[in-house]
Symmetry: C2
Subunit: 238 residues, 2 copies
């Protein structure tokens, strides 16, 4: 089976012909040096992984023929990641890491200490696609648009619990062993942490469980991976 | 207390005057906009954190006066991180993350599928210093020079156990709950994984405990944070 994996936003089935965008053609033929007749793996986030063959290769496009399913669709746990966007490169990293770590939905939130006024949702979504291609997954988490934390919490679904990576919490190790499975979200603050008002709001919510991420202050991208690791190891699909 | 933290490789004590390098002066006076009389926190990796005052500020140097200890020296657990260097930016990230996550020693190793022939040890050490300044720690892990994995394992101290993040292992969740405390190392492979010969060598070693990092293939920098999280949560200082 080819190691080249390509996300294609198209229904997949045996014999299906799918056209390639200019970006996909550049990646397959320019970067990966594939050509007509070569094999690759394609997935669309819904139908599992499929083998495919390059039928037409051209500079600005091309076409693949889908052959057979090679892996079933595998969904991550019902886990959202809420994080406050930081500098561009680190925000890209958080999206990449959240995808590898099996977040089902990525939600950038604006906090009082968040620098970002807006995000490039399309760019971040492209990072999630690339990470899914790399990590062997068949699912691409949707990246939501930037929304104020206050509004997210006001509309919060009551059945979904929140694991809050609290940078001010450090003491005896928190155990996740007793927590119930079900829909969850992981919440990571911006560099500089949450404001006192935000901390109070989070502390007052029944659905919120604060957890410590150790005695050193983690950057937001490190904290995201660490909190997702704790979730996946105890409540998720690891 | 000032939020500016500076690593100074010099003994620290009340009243001690310490000269600044050109890089340190650039950071304090150019980037952080501090000047004579301003306060900062200094640490040397051995004597805890100290308040200090800027006595002399100049373009290419300066001097600080150490005032009083503000935090005791805090050592991380006796944990080494062994990893196979990858692309430059991601290698830098691994060193940064390992420092935040509380590794006591960072050891780049050359594996059969490692691209890197050599590393810039001084650059990586500077990244560890910067991460320690950022994360509020008082310890800077030494970054070793690149050594072949085979040689590292041939000279391995028999009392130090190895937690091997094994990308080919996925099944029922591994538990770290039963593992003994003591000296440990975390070993993360290169992208592309370990060679069959290396896998055999690792599998035959008594000190090695393989652990799964889930059903998705993690990039090396993500895997390093995830494996260090599992260690710190179960056997470390979280």
């Amino acid at each position: 089976m080819s190691r080249v994996r390509l996300f294609i936003d198209h229904p997949l089935g045996a014999g299906q012909a799918v056209g390639l965008t200019a970006d996909q053609a550049h990646y397959l033929f320019g970067v990966m040096r594939l050509g007509q007749g070569d094999r690759l793996t394609v997935f669309n986030g819904r139908d599992g992984a499929w083998s495919a063959e390059i039928a037409v290769a051209s500079k600005r496009g091309g076409q693949v023929t889908v052959l057979a399913q090679t892996a079933p669709q595998q969904m991550p746990p019902d886990l959202w990641l809420l994080f406050a966007p930081i500098k561009k490169a680190r925000t890209d990293f958080i999206v990449e890491k959240a995808t590898e770590m099996g977040a089902a939905r990525i939600m950038p939130v604006q906090t009082e200490f968040t620098n970002a006024e807006r995000i490039r949702q399309d760019r971040l979504q492209a990072h999630a696609v690339e990470a899914a291609e790399q990590c062997g997954g068949t699912f691409v988490p949707p990246v939501a648009d930037l929304v104020p934390l206050r509004r997210v919490l006001a509309d919060w679904p009551p059945e979904r619990r929140i694991l809050w990576g609290d940078e001010a919490r450090y003491g005896p190790a928190d155990t996740l062993a007793g927590l119930a499975r079900g829909p969850w979200a992981v919440l990571i603050g911006p560099e500089g942490g949450f404001s006192p008002a935000e901390r109070e709001m989070l502390g007052a919510l029944d659905v919120v469980t604060p957890i410590s991420l150790g005695p050193r202050i983690l950057r937001a991208d490190t904290a995201a991976v660490a909190a997702l690791t704790l979730f996946q190891a105890h409540l998720g699909d690891w």
